[in-house]
Amino acid sequence: MSNQSSVEILTEWDIVAARQLGRNVAKELGFGTVDQARITTAISELARNIYLYAGQGRIEIQQLSENGIKGILIIAADQGPGIPDIRKVMEDGFSTSGGLGAGLPGVKRLMDEFKIDTIPGEGTDIRATKWLR
């Protein structure tokens, strides 16, 4: 079972819209204040990556339910330049040391599951899930 909705990311305002959508869904699913804030931060980070590096793309929020456990899935998809060196962007301190934000390792930490597919020149698809405990 899944229930979805999405936001096109073109301007910085769309980042806020994606955050709002994610927070609403997280709240509705029953996540607590801290988890709502974490999910929202993860969305913010992914949307910001699209805005900054791909120019445009889409954030999709799905409600999940597996074996009676509810969860939220964030999909961030773009047709941007892709990530040439995944090992590097997933390294601690690569993006955060300058205080540039959580970066992809941050998103991975904020959520329970994290998967990244990227093809240089074709785009990037990131999926991150958090389960309600």
Binding site: T41, G99, L100
Partner: protein, 335 residues
């Protein structure tokens, strides 16, 4: 500067208190990044928050202000942990620089030159999984038309493996310009490794020696991944297996050697287990996949074949090498 931060914080907080909108939170969180990058500790954030609240809502009961004082005290240790992160990041960067330099030294130390022999086309690629390569290739060539090659893999990775390799290299140096056979080479290096190395450190090695006079390859193996022979005439693959213990296990180890006759366009594919034990989402890479990749480019120069195999295997593994990857092809071509 602190004053500027206090004012900005008050402004952002004030906006949020009026509307509690997502927009306000987005602005707040971006601001928190800036605070982290300026090394503002969490206890300072609470203190700034308290001061802002006191200005905006001066009439709140004292318990509110006391509650912030308590939070400040609770955050001191969190602030220290964050400072520790800063120094750990710095330390990590220093180690990275040292590793890079060491990898450079290793490269210079271990360099070997490709033999140039009429009628033999050599392709070669060696990619480390981490900074330091624990695989090693060494060529021994002489003026009599021999092209000897050692392909070695240290059991273990990183630094310790790199140090071990330098030992193998100097062992091989002592053999240079001598017309040693695979059996002899493996025997000598086995004693070097056995004598000097920690009990937990072993090396696997394939040694092949191509004789340009008659187009034969003589080979031996010390517990190493078997080489593959490709017969151009029948388009068939077979393994070049030779019995032998890993180097460093026993000083008395004896090594076999065998000889094969190469014909026009036949290939000998030598490798380390990093090539065959690459893992994809579906499990280990099958030998047949390797055969197929080689066959796809069989008519190209050896270097192009080697590069093709690497590119495709890397793609199948999502660019994540689990082990050092070394692949060498000897291709017999027309003189």
């Amino acid at each position: 500067m602190v004053h500027k931060i206090e004012n900005q914080y008050k402004e952002i907080l004030n906006q949020y208190m009026q509307r509690q909108s997502e927009q306000n939170l987005y602005v707040g969180q971006n601001f928190s990044r800036q605070l982290i990058s300026e090394n503002i500790s969490p206890e300072e954030v609470i203190s700034v928050h308290k001061a802002a609240m006191q200005e905006i809502y001066k009439d709140l009961p004292d318990v509110v202000w006391h509650s912030f004082d308590f939070l400040i005290e609770m955050m001191i240790n969190y602030g220290l942990a964050l400072q520790e992160r800063q120094s750990l990041l710095q330390r990590q960067e220093e180690i990275r620089v040292e590793m890079d330099l060491a990898a450079n030294v290793q490269e210079t130390l271990l360099k070997t030159s490709l033999p140039v022999l009429e009628g033999l086309d050599i392709g070669l690629l060696s990619i480390p999984a981490k900074k330091m390569n624990g695989d090693y290739i060494y060529f021994i060539s002489d003026a009599d038309g021999h092209a000897g090659i050692a392909v070695a893999d240290v059991i273990g990775k990183g630094l310790p493996a790199a140090l071990c390799m330098s030992m193998v290299k100097f062992g091989m140096d002592s053999l240079n310009n001598s017309p040693a056979t695979p059996k002899e080479v493996l025997g000598v290096i086995n004693r070097v490794v056995e004598k000097s190395i920690d009990d937990s450190m072993f090396v696997s090695m394939f040694y092949g020696r191509y004789d340009a006079d008659n187009g034969t390859l003589t080979y031996g193996s010390a517990g190493h991944e078997p080489a593959i022979l490709y017969r151009a005439k029948t388009a068939e693959f077979s393994e070049l297996y030779a019995k032998g213990l890993l180097l460093g296990v026993s000083p008395a180890a004896v090594y076999e050697e065998h000889t094969v006759q190469l014909e026009q366009n036949d290939m000998v594919v030598m490798m380390t287990d990093g090539v065959t034990e690459g893992r994809t989402d579906e499990g280990f890479i099958e030998r047949e996949v390797l055969f197929q990749l080689i066959e796809e480019k069989k008519d190209e120069p050896a270097q192009a074949i080697v590069q093709h195999v690497y590119d495709e295997l890397e793609r199948m593994q999502n660019a994540q090498l689990h082990d050092d990857f070394t692949l060498v092809i000897y291709k017999k071509v027309s003189m």
